[in-house]
C-alpha cells in the first residue's frame, strides 16, 4: 500500500514551470530517496506535499487524502524537517521543540530527552545563538520524537557533522524498523545509498528515473581493474567501454553493465593475473543524469519509469 502518491503533478510560478508532470509513489515502510541537481524541483515537490504550495495540476495524495484540502489531518501523521531551519531567535531550542510537539498533540517526553542526548544539543540556549547544525538538530529532534507515519526530510543533514550524520542515520533506520515511511531528499549520495530502498531522480521538474538501487545500478557502469600477461589489444573497439586508463596497478576502465559479459570474454584471452570489479556507485549513476541534457542525449537508456 502506498503512503504517498503523486500523479502528474505540475506546478507553475507565473510563467515558469517548476514541476512538469511529476509521478512517483512511496510505499508503506519504505525509505524513498529523492535526488536531483540544484533547482530541479525537490523542495517545490515537498512543499506541495505539505500543502503549503497549491498544485497547478495533478493529484497529490498522502494516506489517501488530498494534500491541499486535508492538510491538517495529514499533518497529524507526518513530520517534516527542512534544510534551512529558521526558528524564533528569542526562544530556546527546548521551547521550540515543545511548541512543535504540542501543536502536534502527541507527548513523548522520554524520546525527546533521549534524542536531545543523542544529538548532543543544549536545549537551554536561545535559537539566535545556535549554529546551522544545531538549528537543524532542533527540527530533527522535534520530528523524530513525534510518532509520525511519514517523515519528510528535505536535506536534513546539510549542516551536520559526520558524527551527528551517523546519529541521524540511526534515527532513520529506527523509524524504518518500526514500519514507518520516509521521503529523504539529499545531496549526500552515500547517505541515500545507505538508507534508501528506492530512489527517484528529478531534473528540470521531471522525474527521469525511479526504482530500487539494484534496478538503477543495472543501467550503469561497472569499474574494472585488470592485470594481464599480455597487453590487451583492441579494447577500445569494443562496445560500452569508457575511460580506459593505464595505472601502476594495471589497466582500469568502466563497462556498461549490459556489455560486461562480452568484455570479460574478450580480456580473458590475454591471461588474467588480477581482476577487481567495483559496483557502480550511485555517484556514477547520478553524474550521468545530472550532466546536462545535450551530453546525455543519444545514449539515454530509457530506464524504469
Amino acid at each position: 500500500m502506498s503512503v504517498l502518491e503523486v500523479s502528474n503533478l505540475t506546478k507553475k510560478f507565473g510563467k515558469f514551470t517548476a514541476l512538469d508532470g511529476v509521478n512517483f509513489e512511496v510505499g508503506s515502510g519504505e525509505v524513498f530517496g529523492f535526488i536531483g541537481p540544484n533547482g530541479a524541483g525537490k523542495s517545490t515537490t515537498i512543499r506541495v506535499l505539505l500543502g503549503i504550495l497549491k498544485a497547478t495540476e495533478g493529484e497529490v495524495k498522502l494516506f489517501g487524502k488530498d494534500a491541499w484540502n486535508e492538510a491538517v489531518e495529514i499533518h497529524k501523521r507526518l513530520a517534516y524537517v527542512p534544510g534551512d531551519v529558521n526558528l524564533w531567535p528569542n526562544l530556546t531550542g527546548g521551547e521550540v521543540i515543545d511548541l512543535f510537539v504540542k501543536l502536534r498533540g502527541g507527548n513523548n517526553k522520554s524520546r525527546r530527552e533521549e534524542l536531545i542526548k543523542k544529538f548532543d544539543l543544549d536545549p537551554t540556549k536561545k535559537c539566535r545563538t545556535y549554529s546551522k547544525g544545531n538549528r537543524q538538530k532542533v527540527a530533527l529532534i522535534a520530528a523524530f520524537s513525534s510518532d509520525a507515519d511519514l517523515y519528510i526530510l528535505d536535506e536534513p543533514t546539510s549542516g551536520l557533522d559526520p558524527l551527528m550524520e551517523k546519529v541521524f542515520q540511526e534515527c532513520v533506520m529506527d523509524v524504518k524498523n518500526r514500519g514507518k515511511s520516509v521521503l529523504l531528499s539529499s545531496h549526500i549520495l552515500s547517505e541515500v545509498e545507505k538508507l534508501c530502498d528506492r530512489v527517484g531522480i528529478i531534473r528540470q521538474g521531471k522525474i527521469i528515473e525511479t526504482g530500487s538501487l539494484s534496478e538503477l545500478r543495472h543501467l550503469t557502469r561497472t569499474h574494472i581493474l585488470v592485470e594481464t600477461k599480455q597487453s590487451i589489444s583492441s579494447l577500445n573497439e569494443l562496445q560500452g567501454i569508457h575511460k580506459i586508463e593505464e595505472t601502476d596497478q594495471g589497466l582500469t576502465f568502466q563497462v556498461d553493465t549490459e556489455q560486461l559479459d562480452d568484455v570479460i570474454r574478450h580480456i580473458s584471452q590475454f591471461g588474467i593475473e588480477k581482476l577487481e570489479s567495483a559496483p557502480p556507485t550511485l555517484e556514477d549513476l547520478f553524474m550521468r543524469h545530472y550532466e546536462s541534457k545535450d551530453k546525455s542525449e543519444g545514449k539515454e537508456t530509457g530506464g524504469v519509469r
Binding site: 510560478f13 492538510a71 499533518h75 497529524k76 534551512d84 529558521n86 526562544l91 501543536l103 502536534r104 539566535r128
Partner: protein, 533 residues
C-alpha cells in the same frame, strides 16, 4: 475554508502572546502615559472656562485643524480640549503600533521561514494569521480599556465615564482598522519591509486626506479612518457610530485578509517582484552603493511621502491667509507680538512635526547596518576587502544624505504648495531656512543611532525610545508649557523657531559638534567590537 483551516489557532495565539509578552504591555503603558498626563496638565494651565475659551481663538484656524483634526470649540471643556488636541495624533501612533505588531507575526515570520515549520504541523492554513489577528485585537481591546478607565479615573469633571470609554474605544478601533490594513498588505506584499511600507503609506494617506478634507469639506473626512477618530466627538456629543464603523470595516478587512491568505501559496504575494539585472551596475559595486541599493525603494517612497506631507501642509496656507484677512482680532493679537507675517508664524509649528517625521528615514537608514549584521549578511562584505570603518562610514554617509534630502524635499513641498494657493506667496529662502535649522538636530539623532550601533549594538532600538521622547515633549510642548529642561533634553528642543526667531548660530553649531563627536566615537566602537547577531 472548513474548520480545519483554523486548527490550533488557540495554541498559536497563546504562543504569539508569549513572544510579545514584554512588547505589548510596553506599548500600552507608553500610550496610556502619553494620554493620561495631558488632562491634568491642561487642568492646571487653564483653570477657568474663560481661559479655555481664550485658547480656542488660537485653535480655530485651518493650520490647527489640519494638524489636529476637528474639535468642539464651542464647548471647550478640559475633556473636549484633550480630545481635540490629542486624539488624532495618538491614533496615528496607535496605527503605527498596529502595523509593527501585526507585520511581526504575519509576513515577517513567513519571510524568515518560520511559518513553514508551523504549517508542516497539524495547524490550519489560516491559523497563524488569525492567531496574530486575535492577539492584536486583544491588545487593542486592552488599550481601549486601560485608556478609557484611566481617563475616567483622573476624576476631571468634564471627563465622564462614557466619554472616557469612547476615547479609549476610538484609539482601540483605530488599532483594529490598521491591524486589518496590515494583515491585507502582509498577503499582498512578499516582504515584511513591503508590508510595513505599504501600511504606513496608507496611514499617512489617511492622515493627509483627513487634514485636507477637514478644512475644505468635512463630510469627505468620513472617507479617512483617522477622520472617524475626530468624528467620534469624544466628550461632546459622544458619537459611538464611529466605533461601529471602525469595527465593521475591520471585520471586512480581516475577512479579505483571510480570503487572500487562503488562495495564495506560502511565501508568495500578489505584488509581483520583477526579475532583476544580470550584472551589478557600477553603482552597486561598492559598500556605499550596496547600502544605497538595499534601501532604494524605501528611500524613494519616503522622499515622495515627505514631499506630499510638506505639500499637504502647504496647501492649507491659502485658507489660512483668507481666514486671517477676515479676522481683525487675530491680526492684533498675533502681529503686535512678532515680526513675521501671521501666516508665517505657523511655519515653525508645522516644521516641528515635519522634521520629526523626516528624521525617521535617516535613522532607519543607519539602523539598516544593524539589521544586516543581525541577519549575518555583513560577513559577506567583511570577509572581502571591506574594512569595518568603510562599512559604517558608508551607512553613515547614506543616513546623513538621506536626512538632508528628506528635510529639503518637505520644505520644497510646503513652499511650492503654499505659494500656489496664496495671494502673496512665500519666500523659498525663508521656508527652507525654517526647515534646515532642524538639520543639526537630525544629525544628532543619526549620531546617536550610529553610537548605539558602534558601542551598544544590543540596544540599537533605544534610539526609537529617544525619538518618541522627542516627539512627546515637542508635540506637547507645542500645546502647553512644559518645563524648559524637559524640552532641552531633546536635540529638537534647541532649534530656534525660524522665522519667528532669528537663526541663532550657537545652538546649531553645538548640535553639529555633538553629532560629529557621536559619529566619530561610533567609528572607533564599531571597529573594535565583534560582530553580534
Amino acid at each position: 475554508m472548513d474548520q480545519h483551516s483554523f486548527a490550533n489557532t488557540g495554541k498559536l495565539s497563546r504562543f504569539i502572546l508569549r513572544l510579545d509578552r514584554v512588547k505589548i504591555p510596553l506599548w500600552i503603558m507608553g500610550l496610556a502615559m502619553f494620554t493620561l498626563v495631558v488632562p491634568p496638565a491642561f487642568d492646571n494651565l487653564y483653570k477657568t472656562q474663560q481661559e479655555r475659551d481664550a485658547i480656542t481663538e488660537t485653535m480655530a484656524n485651518p493650520a490647527m485643524t489640519a494638524m489636529l483634526g476637528t474639535g468642539d470649540l464651542d464647548n471647550y471643556t478640559i475633556g473636549a480640549m484633550t480630545a481635540h488636541q490629542m486624539i488624532v495624533m495618538t491614533a496615528v501612533i496607535v496605527g503605527i503600533m498596529a502595523v509593527l505588531l501585526v507585520t511581526r507575526h504575519t509576513r515577517a515570520d513567513e519571510e524568515d521561514g518560520r511559518i513553514e515549520m508551523i504549517r508542516s504541523l497539524p495547524s490550519g492554513r489560516l491559523s497563524y494569521l488569525n492567531a496574530s489577528l486575535i492577539v492584536s485585537s486583544g491588545t487593542f481591546i486592552g488599550l481601549a480599556l486601560v485608556i478609557g478607565f484611566g481617563l475616567y479615573g483622573l476624576g476631571i469633571e468634564s471627563m465622564d465615564l462614557e466619554g472616557s470609554l469612547l476615547y479609549g474605544a476610538a484609539l482601540g478601533g483605530t488599532g483594529f482598522v490598521f491591524t486589518g490594513v496590515t494583515a491585507i498588505f502582509a498577503q499582498l506584499s512578499e516582504s515584511s519591509r513591503g508590508t510595513i511600507g505599504w501600511s504606513v503609506a496608507i496611514l499617512l494617506l489617511a492622515y493627509l486626506f483627513r487634514a485636507i478634507t477637514d478644512i475644505s469639506n468635512e463630510a469627505l473626512s468620513w472617507i479617512s479612518p483617522l477622520g472617524w477618530v475626530s468624528k467620534a466627538e469624544v466628550y461632546s456629543s459622544n458619537n459611538w457610530g464611529s466605533i461601529l464603523l471602525m469595527l465593521a470595516v475591520s471585520i471586512l478587512l480581516f475577512v479579505v485578509a483571510n480570503y487572500l491568505n487562503n488562495i495564495r501559496d506560502l511565501e508568495q504575494g500578489f505584488i509581483a517582484s520583477k526579475p532583476g539585472r544580470r550584472y551589478a551596475s557600477r553603482l552597486l559595486q561598492s559598500p556605499i552603493g550596496l547600502a544605497f541599493r538595499l534601501q532604494r525603494t524605501g528611500f524613494i517612497a519616503w522622499a515622495i511621502g515627505l514631499f506630499v506631507l510638506g505639500a499637504s501642509y502647504g496647501s492649507i496656507f491659502g485658507d489660512l491667509e483668507s481666514f486671517f484677512e477676515g479676522n481683525e482680532m487675530y491680526q492684533q493679537m498675533l502681529q503686535q507680538a512678532e515680526g513675521a507675517s501671521i501666516v508665517e508664524q505657523f511655519i515653525p509649528t508645522l516644521m516641528i512635526v515635519i522634521s520629526l517625521i523626516a528624521t525617521i528615514p535617516p535613522v532607519m537608514a543607519m539602523n539598516k547596518l544593524r539589521g544586516e549584521e543581525k541577519k549575518e549578511r555583513l560577513e559577506h562584505l567583511l570577509s572581502r576587502a571591506v574594512s569595518r570603518t568603510k562599512l559604517i562610514g558608508s551607512y553613515l554617509i547614506m543616513a546623513v544624505v538621506n536626512g538632508f534630502v528628506m528635510i529639503s524635499l518637505s520644505a520644497l513641498g510646503l513652499w511650492s504648495a503654499a505659494t500656489t494657493v496664496m495671494d502673496t506667496g512665500l519666500e523659498l529662502g525663508m521656508v527652507y531656512s525654517a526647515a534646515l535649522v532642524f538639520y543639526p538636530a537630525m544629525l544628532v539623532m543619526i549620531g546617536i543611532a550610529a553610537f548605539l550601533i558602534g558601542l551598544l549594538p544590543m540596544l540599537t532600538s533605544l534610539i526609537w525610545i529617544y525619538f518618541i521622547y522627542s516627539f512627546f515633549v515637542l508635540y506637547l510642548g507645542n500645546l502647553m508649557q512644559i518645563p524648559d529642561l524637559v524640552g532641552k533634553l531633546s536635540p529638537f528642543g534647541h532649534v530656534p523657531q525660524v522665522p519667528i526667531e532669528d537663526v541663532t548660530f550657537m545652538p546649531l553649531f553645538l548640535l553639529s559638534i555633538i553629532a560629529l563627536g557621536l559619529m566619530m566615537i561610533s567609528f572607533v566602537g564599531f571597529r573594535k567590537r565583534d560582530s553580534k547577531n
